[in-house]
């Protein structure tokens, strides 16, 4: 299928981007890798008269370290993040996650910013970025604001981003040297049915855990009850506490039946993946019963 005709704009600075977004209002969308946008236009579920290509705008791509933060340009592709030396060194779990998204063609074109702004629920980055305590920088004509990843996605395909705002960067606080993260996802179709991000963050000898569930519901959800249950529990004592807390928390997750699976199955997956992700983060051999 072919998209409706649209006008293609290729500005080379953000000022021009803002100007175009302003001028065309509801009839315009930013265009990054296009892996979501173009599919939706071709399927004619979305329609825009104008597309503003962000790829020529300087400064939106790449990774740097600044003030204890990893600053990722919104136009960085999943592939570039999977192979980026800074990401691999400081948040290897995020590099691994990026390496596991979709297929190579999508990873090479698809961007982290496009993934977050589209807010398709069956996505990997949001839960992980939330667990890492990331924040997003949104810029518009009148300046910029920071939004916590945890607050950015409101529900399926909806975010707090204003129509004339551009996501410019994702900032991840560099994890402490002792912290470790892991991400476990599962699905039998193209995208994840459930994804769980877990962080093991010992502070002055006391273990803390951060656990977020993604893909299963419209927006990532923090599994506070599991975090609380595990608070202070050292890795070698996780045992049944973890399994029980994970199962209990999974039962509370909003889920519905769809092609990815029935709600009860997905909740079960959430429990399994929570256990696996926490164990991996805590440095335990995954207790995976492969026959």
């Amino acid at each position: 299928m072919l998209p409706h005709r649209f006008q293609y704009h290729r500005p080379d600075n953000l000022e021009q981007v803002f100007e175009l977004l302003d001028r065309y209002g509801d009839d315009v969308a930013p265009y990054a890798g296009g892996t979501e946008l173009l599919l939706a236009l071709k399927a004619r579920v979305l329609r825009y008269e104008h597309l503003v290509d962000l790829k020529r705008v300087p400064g939106l791509k790449g990774v740097c370290e600044s003030d204890g933060q990893i600053v990722i340009g919104a136009l960085s592709s999943h592939f570039s993040l999977a192979t980026d030396p800074i990401v691999k060194r400081l948040v290897p779990a995020y590099a691994a996650l990026s390496d596991n998204i979709a297929n190579i063609r999508v990873r090479v074109s698809g961007t982290i910013g496009g993934n977050l702004c589209f807010a398709e629920p069956h996505a990997d980055p949001p839960a992980m970025l939330a667990a890492l305590g990331a924040s997003l920088t949104l810029r518009g004509r009148d300046g910029q604001r920071r939004v916590a990843m945890a607050d950015f996605i409101e529900g399926e395909f909806t975010t707090v981003r204003g129509p004339a705002e551009v996501l410019t960067e994702v900032r991840i606080p560099a994890p402490a040297a002792s912290a470790r993260y892991a991400y476990c996802s599962f699905g039998h179709l193209e995208r994840p049915a459930v994804g769980i991000a877990a962080g093991y963050c010992p502070e002055r000898g006391t273990p803390h855990y951060r656990i977020w569930a993604g893909a299963i519901a419209g927006r990532p959800a923090q599994l506070r009850s599991v975090e609380d249950a595990l608070e202070g529990v050292p890795p070698d004592k996780l045992g049944d506490v973890l399994a029980e807390a994970a199962s209990a928390a999974a039962q509370e997750l909003p889920a519905h039946d769809d092609l990815q699976g029935s709600a009860d199955y997905k909740r079960h997956l959430a429990a399994v993946l929570t256990r696996r992700a926490v164990e991996q983060a805590a440095g335990l051999q995954p207790r995976r019963k492969a026959a």
Binding site: M1, F186, H188, G261, A290
Partner: protein, 759 residues
């Protein structure tokens, strides 16, 4: 890849063209003056069309015409292969979501697509049914009030619809007395299995260009059976066959989804309406709404003695044939036959139904009816083995037919050694296990035997040019399987010329003789035999020429590279033809014709050969998620003779991996009459990540096939055993018996849960 050393063989000629992008596929065809068509499809499963308002679409600049059901009143507007049940375009009624209701013809595709939004269709909805068993119920909505069968139209025989119902094919067969056998048997097993609708997913969607000119019609088609298309179009447009020309460039895959006739009449009607050439190239999502494999519910009853000997078997197959019969009647018969297996079944009863429903029309698909049937029968073999405490492989050996014994007395005796194939599978798996320690993989096995529905009707022209180059002209379609290379190999071998001298032409019905079609594993064997005859014809003509020109005895003349030999004398073709024609130009045309009477009538009995497969898998299961991974797979087939190793192994691997998709993830899902996953985003075909790390194809070269040098057909066998082999592996280790495909993680997980709940 096989372990056998690869014979030095030049790469297929089409590979070079395809890799460099110079190959012309059907979607690349451009005809001067060509317009583009897009199809408006029904959004409801069943209804009457009250009105189609195309005025706004016609007003859009760039739109040249809109074809609707009203336009085709003057044509013979229904067509079919077994039943004349299908309108060229919906006339006053739609029967499935996706059925073509209007075609916009415009200067370009985008304009045509934009115009689709401007067409207003007023439907009156009718009750619908998407499930085959429900469609057989008394009070089910009936899709077709009358049925007109077409006897011997393109397939031999005719469908047996049940008037006043949705049943468009009812097939029955019996030998012996199955009820008596069940009474005598120690145990009778009865199991019902289901098999979903599956999409063919050829990488190139359906594409056709149609052009009326000079009182005739030319089509560039993606069809696998150009002469079937020719015949149907001749009826629809009331044109002589001689004025209809079908040209078939490279086709980007078919798997049966382009067999017989698909969108050709529709595209031709659009061209007819607008009076200019029209191209319609579907999207993959539209191809998913064009045809699919018939889903099935299969009940197998098998009576066995305590030692596992099968005494009797009764099979009941109900197939969901979708909105139009297409080749469904043949599929139903084959499903019944293919459920028998390569076993002694002294008492047998087969019953098969194909049923109309408000879903995408069912169609032929790699081994028609085979995967459905073998899923049921080979799963049940392991159920029986488990219940009787017999090793599953041993149970199969005990019942296995020996070469020369019959599956059914009216069919050709089985002409392969299935026990050898099964043995080779076990050995090959042992070799894999020895090479990479087995990590506790679960093993499962299955075999399949199918009777390809091959019509022995084929012909070829082979033109030997004065310079020694050879042109092979046939209607065999290159659809990725490598037929052009096979024809090249045969022509080179049978004319004793270097392969580099042989060229194979793009099929064109105006030039190439009638051939039944490319499918049912037939082309290598049928065209091979035709080339055999054409080569004899050429040799005879050359010998007569040499006798006259050089005074040699005709029977001593044979071909050598670039010329002929007689005794110790040798002449290049140029010298011989120059002497014969008096000028240094010319050619010799060989004709090879195959009919059921060829080869002393030996081709008359069905099947022409048996196509079989043995498959063995090594499987891993994540018990917590239910995810099944096939780590090792061995596929064994007797192909008679390997003509091109890369192609033959590719066919075998491709079939098995397609079978892996059938087994693990593929299923077209219907909800409320709507197909809910008819796109490649939601419908999952295996990717390279899911292909077993260790995959071994073992090709047995028994030389027992009817083709040149003992060649048999291949490419449809390896798909058969995959799903039951995997399910059998799960059952052997975990005691879960899953009777429905696909084996999605959730389905496997649920089976494990149920097992745990009642140990």
């Amino acid at each position: 890849m096989s372990e056998a050393s690869h014979r030095a063989q030049p790469p297929r000629r089409d590979f070079f063209e395809k890799v460099t992008g110079s190959a012309e596929f059907i979607s690349d065809v451009v005809v001067p003056g060509m317009l583009q068509g897009r199809i408006l499809r029904s959004t409801i499963p069943h209804g009457r069309i009250r009105n189609v308002d195309v005025s706004a679409a016609l007003a859009l600049p760039g739109v040249e015409a809109v074809l609707t059901g009203e336009d085709i009143a003057g044509l013979n507007n229904h067509w079919g292969l077994f039943l004349n049940d299908r309108p060229v375009i919906a006339i006053d009624r739609v029967r499935y979501v996706g059925e073509p209701v209007a075609v916009v013809v415009a200067v370009d595709e985008r304009t045509a697509e934009d115009a689709l939004d401007l067409i207003d269709v007023d439907y009156e909805t009718l009750p619908f049914v998407t499930d085959a068993v429900e469609a057989m119920a008394e009070d089910a909505p009936v899709l077709h009030e009358k049925s007109e069968t077409l006897k011997d139209f393109y397939f031999k025989g005719e469908a047996k619809p049940v008037p006043g119902t949705n049943i468009f094919q009812k097939y029955e067969y019996a030998h012996g007395d199955v009820e008596r056998a069940f009474a005598d048997a120690g145990r009778v097993f009865e199991d019902t299995f289901s098999f979903p609708m599956i999409f063919h997913y050829a990488m190139e969607p359906h594409c056709v260009v149609a052009s009326f000119a000079d009182g005739g019609l030319t089509l560039w088609s993606c069809g696998q059976a150009p002469t079937a298309i020719q015949k149907v179009l001749s009826r629809v447009f009331d044109l002589p066959l001689a004025k209809i020309r079908i040209i078939t460039p490279y086709v980007g895959g078919g798997f049966g989804g382009k067999a017989s006739v698909k969108i050709d009449p529709l595209v031709a009607a659009a061209a007819w309406k607008v009076g200019r050439p029209v191209r319609i190239c579907l999207s993959i999502s539209e191809s998913m709404l064009t045809c699919r494999r018939l889903s099935a519910s299969i009940t197998v009853r098998t009576g066995v003695r305590a030692d596992g000997t099968i005494l009797g078997k009764a099979v009941r197959v109900v197939m969901n044939g979708g909105a139009y019969a297409d080749t469904g009647p043949a599929v139903a018969i084959k499903a019944a036959n293919r459920a028998i297996g390569p076993y002694h079944v002294p008492n047998l009863k087969l019953e098969a139904y194909a049923v109309y429903t408000n879903t995408v029309p069912g169609a032929a698909f790699r081994s028609i009816g085979g995967p459905q049937a073998v899923w049921a029968s080979e799963s049940q073999m392991d159920i029986i083995a488990g219940a009787l405490g017999i090793d599953p492989v041993e149970l199969r050996y005990r019942n296995m037919l020996k070469p020369g014994e019959t599956v059914r007395p009216d069919l050709r005796p089985i002409d392969v050694d299935m026990a050898e194939a099964l043995g080779q599978a076990s050995q090959a798996m042992s070799r894999l296990d020895a090479a990479g320690p087995d990590a506790g993989l679960m093993k499962g096995v299955a075999v399949g035997a199918s009777d390809p529905g091959i019509m022995a009707v084929a012909a070829v022209l082979v033109r030997l040019k004065i310079d020694g180059s050879v042109l092979v002209i046939s209607n065999s379609v290159e659809i990725g399987q490598g037929i052009r290379e096979v024809l090249r190999t045969f022509a080179a071998e049978l004319l004793n010329q270097p392969a580099e001298a042989v060229y194979v032409m793009t099929p064109d019905t105006a030039l190439a003789p009638f051939d039944w079609g490319t499918g049912a594993s037939r082309s290598s064997v049928m065209m091979g035999m035709a080339i055999e005859d054409a080569a004899i014809d050429i040799r005879r003509q050359l010998a007569d020429m040499a006798a006259a020109a050089f005074g040699v005895a005709a029977e001593t003349v044979s071909l050598c590279p670039g010329g002929i030999v007689a005794g110790d004398r040798q002449w290049p073709f140029a010298e011989l033809l120059h002497a014969h024609y008096g000028i240094d130009s010319g050619e010799v045309i060989g004709i090879g014709r195959i009919s059921p009477h060829s080869r002393d009538g030996r081709l008359m009995q069905a099947p022409l050969f048996w196509e079989t497969a043995a498959g063995m898998c090594g499987v891993e299961l994540d018990e917590e998620t239910g995810e099944v991974r096939v780590r090792r797979y061995v596929s064994v087939a007797d192909v008679g003779r390997v003509l091109n190793r890369a192609s033959a192994e590719g066919q075998d691997e491709g079939a098995a991996i397609q079978g892996l998709g059938h087994a693990l993830s593929e299923e077209l899902v219907y909800e409320d009459g709507q197909p809910v996953n008819a796109s490649m985003i939601d419908y999952h075909v295996p990717t390279i990540d899911e292909v077993p790390e260790d995959f071994l194809t073992v090709l047995i070269e028994s030389g027992t096939g009817p083709g040149p040098g003992g060649a048999r057909g291949m490419g449809e066998g390896a798909i058969l055993p995959v799903a039951p082999a995997i399910a059998n592996a799960l059952a052997s280790r975990h005691g879960i018996r899953i009777r429905d495909l696909p084996l999605t993680p959730e389905r496997v997980w649920r089976a494990l849960q149920e097992k745990k709940a009642k140990p």
